[in-house]
Structure formats: C-alpha cells, structure tokens
C-alpha cells in the first residue's frame, strides 16, 4: 500500500502538497495538481482511513442504529437502511451498522472511540432512554421518529398525524361517515413507538373536525387478530363503510377476511392503507394508500446529519407531508349506505 509520501516522491512534491491536492484546502497550480493526480492514479494510492481520522478528527462514517430483531416492519426497515447507505455514499460517507439492542452502550462505544461522525437512529420510543445519552455525545444525531423530549436533537419522519387526517378527509370526501381504524399491534403501542400515537391522535382530531363516527382498535398480527379486531370494530359501531389500516401485517388477512365474509372492496367497504407503496400494490386489489416514504425520510436524515456536521442550520423537527395515492380500494359510498 503506497502512502502519501510515496505519492509525494513520485510527483516530486512534498506530502503536504499531496494532501492539499486531495482536500482542495489550498490553491495548487494546475501542473502540480496534474502531476500529483497522475502519481496517485499510477500508484493506486488510497489514503489510510485511520490515519486520516486521527489527523483530521473526521471519520467520514455515520452510525445507523436499526432494530434488527425480527421486528414487524422488515421491509420498511430495509428501505430506510438502503436510503441511508445510498445517501451517505453520495456525501462520501460510509455507514456503520449497529443494532438497537446494543442500546445506550453501543452508541457510547462508537461515539467515544471516534468511529463515527454522526448517528442516525430509527425505531425511537416515546421516552427513549438513549436520548439523554445522545445529548452527551460530541457527535450530532438524527432521529427517525419523534420521541417526546427531543429538544436539541434533530428528528425527521412522516407526519403521521397529517397522514391520518388525509386518510379521513379522503374517505369523508367520498361520503363515508362511519369509519374504523385498524391500528398497529398492541405490541407497537406497548413499546411506545411514537408513530402509532401520532397517527391515532391525528385520527381522532380529524374525526371530530369532520364530524365523523369512528372507532379505533389495535390489531394483533395474523388471521385471528384481524378477525377479532374487525369483530370489535363492528360491535362498537355498526354500518362501517370504510377502514383505515395502519398495520401492514394485517392488510393481507384483512382482505381475506372481508372476502370470506362477503364484504366487497371497494363496493361495500372502502380501504385506505398506510404502508409502503409496494405493499399496497402487491395485494389482490390495488389499495389506495398513504405511502410511508422510507426512502425520502432516510435520505433526509442523512442530509440533516451532513448539515449538522457542516455546522449549517437545520430544522430540528422535520415532518414530511403525507401523500395519498388513489388506487382501487375506495369509492363513493353507495346510496344504500347513506
């Protein structure tokens, strides 16, 4: 492995000049630059990351803390991860992957030992224990999610409250007045993952504003969970003509159940799903859905981290506006239901 000294000798300059060619931090004449670059190419020189980190106190690595346990949202998590890695690369950074279950210790380990310049965390809980730890780090962090006390820490996410509003507005616009929410599994609420609450709050507020009759229920995964959730919804409000489904897992069994019980979508029941686009379109019927823009959120998280590293201003709470895509699962309420 050639070093910067080898390059310097080959180009007939001093090592610092090579460094300045690489970093562009001082003007270098065109000829010198060309000679240096030729030498670099010829020798196949790559600066040693550790040496660089030591001298410059920058690693060009960011940590991504992901819930890698066989959690619910596997595809969504993958989309976040993909977006983060891709975006990081576009800023010439790499990504160190940590699991959520290393907890606070993991964050401190990589931060204190200066392995990373910044951290991006996903799957935040309402009163996440990691937040106080993050505040003490010298590296900035960006959260994907919106825990309760996040003062001083940048957060990005989909605006789930607005998403709920948009779903209800859409359905109300189609004449629906009795609407059920099939929520995430009780486990998600228990863990206090924040998006569930935000969605629910938005749902209830919009329901009141639009003067709708709504019921909400969490939904256990699996056919049985869906069955009992639907039974509960129907018991609490009859004449339901539309469902908002904020539970990827439930989508498929729910459609099966509706089919089995003779409720046609969208003729008898309209559905708005909240899920990644590809999930919505992988169903037997293309679902009208509000996209979970994992890619955008991941990219934005990285951008925010980069701004923070550059010392530029950032908005500390950035909630992406939801966008509803009409597909085939909603229709004007039929006259017989009015």
């Amino acid at each position: 492995m050639p070093t910067i000294n080898d390059v310097a000798k080959a180009a007939g300059v001093s090592p610092s000049t090579v460094s300045y060619v690489l970093s562009g931090r001082r003007p270098i004449s065109a000829e010198t630059r060309a000679r240096v670059q030729a030498a670099i190419a010829e020798l196949g020189f790559h600066p040693h990351a550790g040496a660089r980190a030591l001298a410059s106190s920058k690693t060009n690595v960011i940590a991504l803390v992901a819930p890698l346990r066989v959690d619910v949202n596997v595809p969504v998590i993958m989309q976040f991860a993909t977006a983060v890695v891709t975006a990081a690369r576009s800023y010439n950074h790499d990504v160190l992957l940590l699991t959520k279950d290393e907890g606070t210790a993991g964050l401190e380990r990589v931060a204190h030992s200066t392995m990373v310049d910044a951290l991006i965390l996903m799957d935040l809980e309402r009163d996440d224990l990691r937040i106080p730890a993050l505040r003490k780090l010298k590296q900035p962090s960006v959260l994907i999610g919106l825990p309760s006390d996040h003062t001083g820490i940048a957060c990005v996410d989909l605006d789930f409250a607005a998403a709920a509003r948009e779903a209800l507005t859409h359905l109300a616009g189609h004449g629906h007045r009795r609407i059920g929410l099939v929520g995430p599994s009780p486990a998600v609420y228990k863990r206090q993952t924040t998006y569930a609450d935000r969605f629910l709050t938005g749902f209830l507020e919009a329901s009141a504003e639009l003067d709708l009759r709504t019921v909400t229920h969490p939904c256990e995964p699996g056919a049985e969970g869906v069955r009992s959730c639907m039974a509960d919804l129907d018991a609490e409000l009859d004449g339901i003509t539309a469902l908002v489904v904020h539970n990827e897992e439930a989508l498929r069994p729910l459609l099966d159940l509706l089919h089995a019980t003779g409720r046609r979508v969208p003729d008898d029941v309209s559905i708005v799903a909240v899920c990644p686009r590809d999930v919505a379109t992988a169903m037997p019927i293309n679902l009208t859905s509000i996209d979970i823009p994992a890619h955008d959120v991941g990219t934005l998280a990285v951008e925010t981290a980069m701004r923070l590293l550059d010392g530029r201003r950032v908005e500390y709470t950035r909630l992406l506006a939801p966008s509803l895509v009409e597909r085939d699962s909603c229709r004007e309420i039929s006259p017989s239901h009015r």
Copy 2:
C-alpha cells in the same frame, strides 16, 4: 476525550503500560493493572479507533456487502445482516454496511483505505466479477454463496442441492411419484445467483435416483406468474401430487390459487417449501419446510472471517446440512392417486 496519556498520568504509569493492560500482550502486576483500570473507568477513557487502527493495522471492523435494492428476499437478507452484526459484536468487531451496487469499486475503496479487516459478501453470482477483485485485496473475505471459481476464498451457505434431495426424499417417502418444482423467478436464474442452480441440480439428480417423474419451472412473482407456472407444470406432467416450492414470493399466491381451483393442501397436493421458518408458519396452513438457516449461515460467516484473521485454518467450502421440519402441508398420497 481523555487519551491514553491522561490515563497513564492518572495511574502513575507510562502510556505503554496502559496499552499493555488493555491488550494483555505483556504481563502486568495485579496492583498496576488495578490502578490503570480504575483510572480508565474514572476518566471514561475509550481508545481512539483511528489511532488504534493506524498503530496496529487492525480496525476491528468487517464489511458486509448486502443487496440492498428492493430485491426479492428482504426478510432473508435482514436475517443474514442481523446474524452478522450480532456475531461480529461477539468478537468485538463492528460492521460497515455496503451495498452490492457499489460493486467492485466499493470493495476496493474500503479495503484499500484500510477501513475494514475482512469482508463478507452475500448474493454472489455464478461468475461474480467481484471475485477477482477480492483476491487482490490484502483483507480476507468470506462469501455467503458458492460462485463457480472460488478457489482460495472461503464460502459458506446452505447446501441447496442436499435441500432439494431432502425435499424429494421426504415426498417420495410419502408415496409421491409425480412432483413439480416451483422455482425462483426467471430473474434469479438470469442473475445466475448460485443457489437456484444448485437447488435445481440437486433436484434433478435426486429425481433420477429416486426414479420420480418431475417437472420444474421458474415462477414469476405475483398471482399471474403462479398461475402460468402451475399451468406449465400441469401441462408437462399430469397427475402431480406434490410441489416443492423454492420461491418465497410465490408461496402465498400459490396457496390462493390451489384453494381457488379446489386443490386442497395437503389432501390433494402436498407441499414442501424452502424458506425461512417464519415464512412457512405465517401461511394459512403451516407448511412443511426446509429452513433457510440465515442466522446460522451469517454467524458461520463471521466465525470464518475471525479464523482467517487469526491465521487459523478454515474449511474453504462449508455447506450447512438442510433440515426439514414437518408441519401440515404433506401427507401420504391418497389411494385414489396411486
């Protein structure tokens, strides 16, 4: 951030002594060790990763190259990743996540700049262009998969040929003689991802050995793909009483199709699936399946990498024996079909 010098002063020893306490490479008296450790704890000292890497030429980081595009096997990939990260941590290593689509350049970048000690790659293709590049690196690599020319590079994977054998043996043991294989999508074959071929080869060999009548067909994702795949299979061999399904995506629509066309599982058709355990048990009927032991494979990959780094001997090709778990989708062939 305190440095090793601060610790040394606080403990009244030289920096090298602190280093030896940390690494255990030279004997240190119990009292000194205790003083040093106390100082470390009190100051909250964490060695600077870059400095360490520079001085020792070890990063304690391994690269994981994953296909992060919205590829087929999202859950399987997550399982590999989880296993790799967890196993790496147990050896006090971290994981740098790279995407497959950075290709050869990505590998060379992290290797040449000494960001990692070893590389683990997944989703290898038959004549993978990255392999010659890997051979030139100073860091060892471990492949999850079995490309054609892998001499000198460690490979670990499920023994897909044996898996196919086991599936057929199981079905033959239940009296089935006419069996169809629902294979991966044509895209997988086109990409020459090696497991598809290995499975197919094992399937055909076992079919001959067991004197079975079999047909095989790739299967496009989606309901339509499944329909046409089944149509092809049925057209080429009638009286099929069992299916081997080596295609996660197809599983669900296949069951739907069989249901819709009045072929009951397992009464009319037995099924052996090749997929992760949780996929097999998430279906309407619990499927007899051959597990894809992503966790074991990932862990083994890391272990292999660690052995390589320690200069210990490794088996350069390690194929894990498949294990078939009986569930509810296979039964003795009914007399009417004999």
